[in-house]
Assembly symmetry: C2
Homo-oligomer: 472 residues x 2
Amino acid sequence: MTGADCAVRGSFFDLLDNPWDYLGREHEAARFLADGLLVVKSGLIADFGPFEDVIVRHQGLEITHLENRLILPGLIDGHIHFPQVRVLGAYGNQLLDWLQNWIFPEEIKYKDRDYATNASKHFFHNLLAAGTTTCQAFTTSSPVSSEVFFEAAAERNMRVIAGLTGIDRFAPDDYLITPDDFYHQTKSLIERFHRKGRGLYAITPRFAVGCTTAMMDRSRQLKEEHPDCWVNTHISENPTEVKSVRDFYPDCRDYTEVHEVHGLLGPKFTAGHGVWLSDDELRRFSSSGAAISFCPMSNLYLGSGLFRLGRALDPEFRVRLSLGTDMGGGNAFSLIRVLDEAYKVGMCNNTLLDGSVNPREQDTAEAERNKLSPYRAFYLATLGGAKSLYLDDVLGNFWVGKEADFIALDWTAGQPGTSWHQSLITTEGPTSIEQAAQLLFGVMVVGDDRSVDETWIAGKRLYKTGDTVEAG
Amino acid sequence: MTGADCAVRGSFFDLLDNPWDYLGREHEAARFLADGLLVVKSGLIADFGPFEDVIVRHQGLEITHLENRLILPGLIDGHIHFPQVRVLGAYGNQLLDWLQNWIFPEEIKYKDRDYATNASKHFFHNLLAAGTTTCQAFTTSSPVSSEVFFEAAAERNMRVIAGLTGIDRFAPDDYLITPDDFYHQTKSLIERFHRKGRGLYAITPRFAVGCTTAMMDRSRQLKEEHPDCWVNTHISENPTEVKSVRDFYPDCRDYTEVHEVHGLLGPKFTAGHGVWLSDDELRRFSSSGAAISFCPMSNLYLGSGLFRLGRALDPEFRVRLSLGTDMGGGNAFSLIRVLDEAYKVGMCNNTLLDGSVNPREQDTAEAERNKLSPYRAFYLATLGGAKSLYLDDVLGNFWVGKEADFIALDWTAGQPGTSWHQSLITTEGPTSIEQAAQLLFGVMVVGDDRSVDETWIAGKRLYKTGDTVEAG
């Protein structure tokens, strides 16, 4: 791995464990250094700790001091669509109509290398401006879009997961790909891009509505032949979609079984959404080590429903979760905005769980798990996302040896009222982990993409407030 | 009315009628002038129309040309809390706990004139930066906050509605006000501020949980003695609150009847939220001419629930609706952000109304009404809001004779991806009403407060992108 050597001084906040396991003492799952120093060598974290301790081991180092900022690990987006960068926020339909009316007509343009290349400039600029340093992305059914995606990520030295996105029904004819073509082109792309630089490959059957049994069989074959690869898909986003899957796969008792019988459910498997999964399905996700990417902004935008966050985090069958923008189903690139929506989904779930509407639905333990404290929120966006993607050996926090992707948050940026709001907590900068967490809660519900002042990839600053995109 | 004379040239968009009455031809409810001219005299619209037509009637006029902007009537916020400017986005509780933990401790500070005055600078700066030119605001139980509010609005020559906010139970003792004090202080404030300049007074019993029968009786007396005044309150926000009202007012069959028996329900009465109102209650709102302020951002933020937008707009019992931020229950000042959330609430309602979950809940007509097109959205934020507040004689669109409050929207501003997104519609600026509407949809779901480039009050520009607040 390449990456400029650097040393950054400032206030650091990261998660070391899952705060849902630390009820009433969530701060014990996190770490805060009011004055810390992060030393990067060859793109990796070479040293980290209190400034006074670390500096003595690195005399003569040139230090970048990020004052009045909170430095966090880079944000991880578990579910995003590269070829939807231009059509985020399309009007008016739920999932299946929205795909036909807006999404496929745009995605088909990505057969054209020039269009895809220009789009990649927008896409990665938007990611970096949002503080997202790693994403797991869908591309299109054309290998051009995957090639362009991996090349653009490599230029920026970014840790990404992506793959040719297979769909052989339920799309315009010229957008479909046959299972055989999907198989051969996927193998070729794995050869070229998997574990080249920081690129990782995901075998990507789009979703069961759009994938015949033959396509799912080819996906299984690919996973068997390339067990090191990831698998990325969608599941149980919308009630009508769930019903379609029952019709298409009548031998499967539920949506999850479609993936089970094709040998996909397990570690390094992520399905976006999961809004309508049953308890039994959540249990099978949990026991198999499979992950869900929780996409609240998209679930609200497309009217898909409220993900049962507290249920998926039941300690009896806790599911690995990442956060996803699902951009363009989600109408922003910012995971900070997604945290705002995730908080709202949890709060809305709790309207029912407090039993005030129907006493039979009361579940105060589940309601407690729905509450997205800043510890929990930024866990999902960093270490939790990394764990769900089986990338926590290299990403997610500031452990020495991990890759040096991080962001500097300006807790006073955002809508004009942000600064005065945050002054309730501190005007001097946080001196305790509680203050840092409170400022971060302000960032997630009062701030937005403007809160991200700088984004660093493998020890190199790739975004600073005010940077604009060089694209057409 | 004072206000600098001016003339503004540019592209104008406004609503002339309710687009819900124009199914399939909503553009007929709106007006678009690609090149228009608005002439202001003494703060009122003196002339308006196509530039070529209007200019011949006003030779020698100094013209401000707002290029690459969409000029709309100023946005109207039907429900906002002045003394919550600093605590927007407070963590973790539903309505009743949130009030005790966060809101009352902050609002009590507004007894102090210096604190309230400083807060008013933040509040009005935030409003103007969000493009909000008129609001109906709650203050506190201290007359100081109402005085400061009206004085600050008058300094900016803004059309506002507000009033001393009465609460005589369910708050800290030193925050409560007796019904007698509420009565006498309200009368004094009406005398000083109602119809002085652009100020309008609302008799404001906070909500039935916090108001005894004695407080409600005094509110009725005030409305009888001052029938020209507005009435502003809350209703049916949260299930636990609804249950409390049943306990407090056992003789009333529902929450709405509390206001009926106290002579308040009718024209110029607005209640915020109404999430849990029954069909029968909606019918009584409709027939009495009373209004609901729809606050989707707050309803999601506090987990109050999903307002049945399509139901409240049933042509059989259509209710007058404004949009409200409910800031601080809503976590932003921007009505553009509120439109995004309103769109999402409508879409989530429709998950059930399409019958895919439960065929008994299918109602495609109601589902259609839930879809927040840009025509409908900006109607609610301008003319619809004005109608709900009985201010459409002076606000809401560019009819000659109305007050000249307007905003200039930059449809490319917002998150970094906005400009390329909007380029799908036009890069030259809109030439048709359909293009203008599509750009406005992009503003509401991809843009945010940054979309507001300029805000003009009574013909005078009070906000321009980059302006900051002069407050402590």
